[in-house]
Symmetry: C2
Subunit: 260 residues, 2 copies
């Protein structure tokens, strides 16, 4: 099996290393990851700057390719340039420090890399651990390794990736695997307004989730229940029901010259 690994925390992050330690048991791994942290970059790609690819060494050995771009850039350049369009069997993005759930996944570089893989028709998943402190990535890494053969054998339909979130509890406390949907709970955001030493105002974005839905099959709820959350995601943003609604709005009337 040939596996492409990436992330958004950067090529030197412990979550990626833990993932690599497990995934290399399955076959050949190719690591192409951002050269620095790229959290919350969403599905950004780099068009205005040149991309550079550097060989990155870890513990004295070649570890992977560091790219001065986003996670989505990494998957693109891996496939189209580094691998010369030879498809890996699997794309795995992570292990992210902190969950990627709910409306937040639209901001996630980790998830966007898996989406890029699915756009190339490669079985792909993102995997995140639900903690920011004292992370122990080992169980999540093992789960990534264990689910991988299934994804390759069953071949996820083109255009679908999996977004996997793992509770940060001991393996013995894990209560199962739950197939989930993306939670839709909104955040209450705040901007912390401060004054810098030069007397200029600046803001830090902060946010707190208001209320997580109660349904068991919501991604955040699964994690609270100590279950591994697996959400199938795609990149078709069309809201199909609303197409009918809009067709009843007689929008062609707007082009009537008398309506200027």
């Amino acid at each position: 099996m040939k596996i492409l690994l990436t992330n958004d925390d950067g090529i030197n992050s412990p979550g990626l290393f833990a993932l690599y330690e497990e995934m290399k048991k399955l076959g050949e791994t190719i690591i192409v990851a951002p050269d620095s942290e790229k959290s919350a970059v969403g599905h950004a790609i780099t068009l205005s700057d040149p991309l550079r690819v550097t060989e990155f060494r870890k513990n004295g050995e070649f570890f992977g390719y560091a790219v001065n771009g986003t996670p989505a850039d990494c998957v693109k350049i891996a496939f189209w340039a580094i691998l010369n369009e030879e498809k890996p069997d699997l794309v795995v993005s992570g292990i992210n420090l902190g969950a990627n759930t709910g409306i937040n996944i639209i901001y996630s570089g980790t998830v966007s890399a898996a989406t890029e893989g699915s756009m190339l028709g490669i079985p792909s998943f993102a995997i995140s651990l639900n903690t920011f402190t004292n992370p122990d990535f080992r169980f999540a890494a093992k789960f990534a390794r264990k689910i991988s053969p299934t994804l390759v054998q069953k071949q996820l339909p083109a255009g679908i990736a999996l977004n996997i979130n793992v509770p940060a509890v001991a393996e013995t406390q894990i209560k199962g695997v739950m197939v989930t949907r993306q939670g839709m709970a909104l955040y209450r955001e705040e901007f912390d307004k401060r004054v810098d030493p030069h007397n200029r105002i600046y803001y830090w974005l902060t946010g707190a989730k208001v209320k997580i839905e109660e349904q068991e099959d919501v991604d955040d709820r699964a994690i609270i229940n100590n279950k591994i959350s697996i959400t199938p995601i795609h990149y078709d943003l069309t809201q199909y029901e609303m197409m009918n609604g809009l067709n009843n709005w007689n929008l062609n009337q707007l082009l009537d010259e008398n309506e200027d």
Copy 2:
């Protein structure tokens, strides 16, 4: 009517100014836009750097607030800090230089700003003009102004934004308004490999769409047919059909200790 305007081409771009010139006829406009071009930033937000808000003047007069962040940052900081949580009646993002159609919309800062508006429960749309050269934004701006009262009166359902693309032809050649879905045609991407004056390799991302779907209701096809394309979009990335598929995969088996 109180209208928030933003874009991803930057606060000084002609597309935003053309939009402003029309939208101000409807009521009070507040402009909060990136201080420089932020194309292809996708749904990025700024967590690691402080955001600064600067009053931007144009032709000697106050024009709007420039933010050192992304389009999504601009909508967030506009609502939560600048407007003190007073909801505008409408969020409009654009007019973008170049269409935002097909799979590319996941990379679009313009579209992400409209999505942010819809997350706040505000009727929101993105508007883009299908050209990169010699843009004449006037008709697109007029259309933005003309569709706005409809959106405010009919109140788009929460969580849905409109992605509007306008053909770059004379108004008399416009063949109508088409409600569309996001095209799914893939791109053939290339990385143009070059050597810099210091003998280091770098890459530019380039890409060409392989083949646009034939169906009339695909966003790109509407534009080719000289129709204004309007796609309802949302930010629920869940692929619901696949939830059933995954439930048949017996993923709980992976937790069996004998399967290590």
